[in-house]
């Protein structure tokens, strides 16, 4: 805590520190979207026929869809024909087999970002990084060790080549290709992502982690992540993002699918720190993500934890379908908007099985002219006897030009269900500040302390390394609004 507080001072003065563009030769196809582009992407990735068919079906469905406008966010219309849908760092065709083969320029980028791929390898089994640079996976560590346990952790393209059976069985089974506008777009053009399969009864011995980074200009990123935990398996997965500074808005429409079979457990943690735009709201990433977990088996457990501090616009609702009896869904979220950032985020908990339980803890912080909305759905179907939900949404306002909004939808069709929703909105109390100041704590430290305390419930759900990073991020993101 103390470390975070002191670092805050130094960080407040900083501009977005991950703002740089690495000069790389990239293999980018022309802007625009049509069936030929999709065929080209599929061909470039050497995909089997079923993948192409799947992409094309998604594309044709996408053409019939209208961009959603119900979210509490405002942005100029996006021209989908102005985006280049594929960008891969130029490297040898067979792909790097070890770090030595990886473009050194790329490795330097990661080093600047503080993702010490080499170090991590040396640090023996702490975290495995499947680092993604723009669209193609360039390096995977600890694959061998995981392989011995039967765990598959690889890039999505690799999974399509080597485990087409699994991909075919599970891809789109949680988020169908026509699920929503952005998911359909993603299904049609997704370039790469991560694939995880944990076999029956295996507990993944380390936290799996992928760092995404958007680099080439005007390239929308369309990641696809698929995680399957077979019966009795356990995995904790970390996702973290940074992006270089740029002027044009960038679209990011990822899809994440989680599948937990009987007695399986998936813990998915995200720290999202993409470029939020400058103080006037220019630039910044549009983050329109579909994340959904499927508690398919009895006693399964899916937990989402997210710390959202970046992006100009966040549109994201990590959800859980509680199908299996006694399954558990959790959602812990900290969303921070500063300057002109907008966030419309929350979760959906769909109770289908008996004795299903869900917990939602959402902490929204608005500063500057940020607009922060929680939008959630808790739905208890007739079959979900004794379903239980507890929802807590708290908002903290820092500054008189920001907004905090709560839109919780609660639909209950079973009388044995028990659903509770609570929300509060407040600013930092003068009494709280007074208490800190009269004990000699500076105003900035006090605010940071109070904000971190406000988020503690969520931070404690994060893996240790992430919790530290999240606290730092919060400090950086509040830059200029403190005091």
């Amino acid at each position: 805590m103390a470390t975070a507080t002191h670092q805050l001072d130094a960080l407040i003065a900083q501009e977005y520190k991950h703002g740089f563009v690495t000069d790389l030769e990239t293999d980018t196809i022309p802007r625009g979207l049509n069936e030929d582009v999709i065929r080209l992407i599929s061909a470039k990735k050497n995909e089997p026929e079923f993948m192409l068919e799947w992409r094309l079906a998604a594309y044709r469905h996408w053409l019939t869809m209208i961009e959603p406008n119900w979210a509490h966010v405002h942005y100029p219309p996006i021209d989908y024909q102005e985006i280049s849908y594929y960008s891969a760092p130029k490297s040898n065709k067979d792909g790097p087999k070890s770090l030595d083969e990886v473009d050194p320029e790329l490795l330097r980028t990661y080093e600047k970002l503080g993702i010490p791929l080499k170090e991590r390898e040396m640090l023996a089994g702490v975290v495995a990084v499947d680092a993604v640079f723009d669209s193609v996976s360039v390096g995977t560590t600890f694959k061998k060790k995981l392989g011995e346990m039967g765990i598959i952790f690889c890039s999505f393209s690799e999974a399509v080549q080597e485990h087409p059976g699994l991909v075919r069985q599970y891809l789109g089974s949680v988020v169908p290709s026509g699920d929503n506008f952005y998911a359909a777009l993603n299904s049609a053009v997704f370039s790469d992502g991560s694939f995880v399969y944990i076999p029956k009864g295996v507990r993944c011995p380390m936290e799996l982690s992928t760092y995404f980074r958007i680099n080439a200009q005007n390239t929308g990123q369309f990641e696809r992540t698929l995680i399957i935990a077979d019966e009795g398996a356990y995995v904790s997965y970390l996702e973290g993002c940074t992006a270089p500074m740029r002027d044009e808005n960038q679209l990011h429409a990822a899809v994440v699918e989680l599948i937990a079979l009987d007695n399986a457990r998936i813990k998915y943690s995200t720290v999202q720190n993409w470029y939020p735009g400058d103080k006037e709201g220019r630039g910044g990433i549009y983050n329109f993500v579909t994340k959904r977990g499927d508690c398919r088996g009895a006693n399964s457990h899916i937990s989402w934890t997210q710390v959202e501090t970046g992006s100009a616009i966040t549109w994201k609702y990590p959800s859980v379908l509680l199908k299996g009896d006694n399954s558990v869904g959790e959602f812990y979220s900290v969303a921070l908007t500063n300057n002109r950032q907008q966030a419309d985020t929350g979760t959906k908990m769909i109770h289908i099985g008996k004795n299903t339980r869900s917990t939602i803890v959402s902490k929204g912080i608005s500063a500057g002219r940020g607009q922060n909305a929680y939008r959630g759905l808790v739905k208890v179907l007739k079959s979900a006897d004794r379903a239980r939900n507890y929802t807590q949404c708290d908002s903290l306002l820092l500054g008189d030009r920001c907004g905090a909004h709560t839109f919780p939808y609660i639909e209950v069709k079973n009388p044995t269900a028990k659903v509770e929703h609570e929300a509060t909105t407040s600013r930092i109390g003068e009494d709280q500040m007074f208490y800190c100041l009269q004990r000699g704590i500076s105003a900035e430290d006090a605010v940071s302390m109070i904000v971190n305390g406000f988020c503690k419930e969520v931070f404690k759900e994060l893996p240790m390394e992430f919790a530290v990073e999240a606290q730092k991020l919060l400090g950086v993101s509040l830059e200029g609004s403190v005091g």
């Binding site: 007739k382 909004h405 659903v419 600013r427």
Partner: protein
Amino acid sequence: MNAIERYSADFARIENALPGSSIGWLQDARRDALSRFAERGIPTTRDENWKYTDVSSLEKRALIAAPSPDRADAATLAASIERLALAAEYHLLVFVDGRYDRDLSWLGRLPAGATISSMAEVLERDPGLLEAHFAGEIWPHGAFGWLNTALAADGAVIHLEADTVVEQPVHLLFLATGSASAVHATNLIVAGNNAKVTVIEHYAGDDGATYFTNALTHIVIGENANVAHYKLQQESAKAFHIAGIHAKQAAHGRFASHSISLGAQLARNDISTYLAAGSHCELNGLYLADGRRHVDHHTRIDHAEPDATSSEVYRGILDGGARGVFNGKVVVHQDAQHTDAKQENHNLLLSKNAEIDTKPELEIYADDVKCTHGATIGQLDDAMLFYLRSRGLDEAAARSLLIYAFAHDIIDRMALQPLRKRLERQLIERLPLGSTEVSFSELLLDGQSGTGQ
């Protein structure tokens, strides 16, 4: 013929028969309202505001605004009024099928500066009283609100000059006696600065009659004025009831709204208020539904200026295959610093087929505010039931007691004793009383009035 054409034909047919049809501004306002209605059309479940409430069953009946062919006879009416009136000393305005009936009404002594009458009468005598408040964009109308403005043939007008206090509550009783017709009623309550009044808006209909009530009430609350509004909806079990209650509060104005929804197969209430500096509002509601009935409350509180406070509590009990909808929105505008807003919605689901959809919303654009909301959905608490059973109450009595207590929280917030008594009795009639029936209801009622022990 679709709904818009049908209502437009309705309008063309009755326009010249509507009160004040020769008054230019009124004619314009009505035509404007009809075109706005036509623009919006009948809402469908694709509209966010009507997501859970499907009015297509109402539209299928194609009910038109026409005098009921089977108006009840005088004796039946008198008996109904006898049954429904709350207290002899209350001012009583009776509307039969939407039209004011002077002979059935009773107005006590009114202070100077108070006008209590029907819209038709006011339009004849002093139409200027209505002009400023009649229509236009100042009210947050939906399609049914505009339809009402176009077609309303009558309603109550309560107009108080500044510093006017009406001691006794004003009871507006809307009786639907016939079937197959649509009644559009518009009420206006204007309380000048420091004025004070209590109004009970009461809708009741003959059992088994199918009709459509489309009611709209505008309430203008002056500085430091105080308006208490009670809405008691006891329509026939087959009726459709759609109502809007929209208030505007000037600085330090006080508004209390109590909405009790007991009847109708489909009931929808849109209640809104707009708070100026230092004003206070209290919105309370209780909805009971069983069978295949549907009850929907949408409320909106706009904190537009600093230092206003609001508190909202809605409770619902849903049994059988009933469906309840609650959508409470609190908007705190940018300048509304020092806002204190509380909102609660609690629901009891008593049967396997009952359903509740609730959405307590907050939209906040100011930072120095305190806003909370909470929503709960559940069934009767097992531990509480066990406690009562262990003290000798049978299952039904224990359940009754808990349901009664759940609902009574709202009744407790009401100031009018005769209304409270009436509601308590009606609540008890609906409870699944056990073998202890007689003593149980006596116990509850005595305990309430403080004459027990």
